[in-house]
């Protein structure tokens, strides 16, 4: 690729991922007629047999998503786990997976096999099959995983269904995944399937870039705002162990790679769903706030009842 000739050209770094994706979606226009195009966890296409299929793809690159010292088996597991998490976020059953690997020629075949073993272990666990992929040369190790999930037609839980009054939930605990959970996370396939069948879930997504970054994406798609209760945010123990000057709460809100589910439930269904969850799973489920009418804002209420708004620079009181 030619480097941009003028330093004034808007670069990927300058505009950010969300704006870049929005620009690309405009380029794509309205070709074809998928049930759901770009902008959710998965694209959804109908197959004319009473089912719909979730399509998703996810890249991980050496030096960015994992260090060069990482264990090959864990790299394979993580690459597949990220894509399965996208299917979990729509309540789908993962079915077919393709794994593309590009790597330098010096990579040992044994390491490549370990990557595949790690990938296969996770697909098997969740009932999916690796049916193909491609192997090519590249200057560093990169994996691109493509996964296909299945649901009854019209049943995928999307990002755009949250309504004012809906209760906001998150699974598990957030923050500090860099200390190890980014390799060991479980894609919430079982929980996603259960939530879809349960009914009452109005919108859902997985948390890959941190709650404070991802939730506004759901809010924007739904045309609503959200109020989070600061004291309700489930902070992972690892987020407290990172002694880097950021508060554990800020870690829980902004660290990437939690791969937990955040979802909204209509208020009349919320209590019953919570009760049923506790019978079905040991995994923590936390009511963290509610959906408000509004223009996609994310608000945080602290213990004293004061509300702050999330901006690109963080919550107001985090800045000083």
């Amino acid at each position: 690729m030619k480097k941009a000739k003028h330093t004034t050209a808007r670069t990927l770094s300058a505009v950010g991922e969300d704006a870049a994706i929005a620009a690309l979606v405009k380029v794509l226009g309205d070709d074809g007629a998928p049930a759901l195009g770009p902008g959710d966890d998965c694209a959804v296409v109908e197959m004319g047999d009473g089912k719909e299929w979730q399509l998703t793809s996810d890249p991980i690159v050496e030096g960015i998503h994992f260090l060069s010292e990482a264990e090959p088996r864990l790299i394979g597991r993580k690459a597949v786990g990220r894509a399965l998490s996208d299917i979990a976020a729509m309540g789908g059953q993962p079915k077919w997976v393709l794994v593309n690997i590009t790597a330098p020629g010096e990579l040992a075949l044994d390491q490549l096999k370990s990557i595949y073993r790690g990938a296969r272990q996770l697909t098997r666990k969740y009932g999916a099959t690796i049916v193909g992929g491609d192997l090519g040369k590249g200057p560093e190790l990169a994996l691109h995983v493509f996964a296909i999930g299945q649901s009854p037609a019209g049943s995928s839980i999307r990002r755009d269904g949250a309504h004012p009054g809906d209760i906001l939930y998150v699974t598990g605990q957030l923050g500090g995944s860099a200390l190890g959970r980014h390799f060991a996370f479980e894609p919430r396939i079982r929980e996603g399937l259960w939530l879809r069948k349960q009914g009452g879930v109005t919108a859902m997504m997985d948390i890959s870039d941190g709650l404070a970054t991802d939730l506004p994406r759901l809010l924007k798609r739904s045309g609503a705002s959200a109020l989070l209760q600061e004291r309700a945010i489930p902070i992972a123990p690892a987020a407290r162990r990172l002694e880097d000057g950021k508060s554990p709460l800020l870690h829980a809100l902004t660290d990437g790679e939690d791969f937990e589910l955040v979802f909204t439930v209509s208020p009349e269904r919320a209590t019953a769903l919570e009760d049923a969850w506790r019978k079905a799973f040991r995994l923590r489920l936390t009511r963290i706030g509610e959906i408000l009418a509004g223009p996609g804002q994310l608000l945080l209420e602290d213990k004293s009842g004061q509300r702050q708004q999330w901006t690109a620079a963080g919550f107001e009181h985090f800045r000083s």
Copy 2:
């Protein structure tokens, strides 16, 4: 990834792509029950609605598949074209496409949009829709395209159906694609669909790594050998313009990125198929040889009737 600790470890370069893929397929075992797993142009899965779907994925990486000076629109076109060519090779109709891009932050948004424009132009031309993808950071530009194609159940043309006596054909002309055709090639979607509907085609694949590299893959899957007629090989004009010491014929046999189709036809159907082809297409179709009983060997017969066998080092008479 850790570098291999012992210099005796078998690396990706040392074992080669085919052996590495074979090792990985063993790792995958026999999970699930796709209609067709790894080892063909696409994986094929049945969807229970009288249709089957071809799944394929293809990476292209800056510095390997295109130079950093390349035009962004052509990079996008090429990335999609390679995946569509895999679907063409099974006689499928491409339907859905996902485009993953990893790039450095300095990449201009306008260049990214041009890549997508080039990709979309080609998907539209062949009736497919880009429904998603992912955008991430990476040290250099890389595109991974995932494509899904469709055929009636059981109708995909595979690599494993060639029988002794079948006639061997190739579309278009071969060699010298580095002079420009590697960006401008047409995936042979229309021809692939037509061939599937025509009947009598027993095996097919696309030529991405050169006829002498790819055809043995089809032969191995089919458990048969092939005899090529040297004088019949359709050599592209570009292969004659490359004055690098290699003969035009060797270019036609070994240059990568032709993206033409090579296929076999049962002998009783061959002449009728050739006649029908000439009415349907202006694209050249050439009878280049035939399938023999044998252990996956590729033989070349020269004008004097002498036969040479293809090995990793090339045909015998090319070496001196």
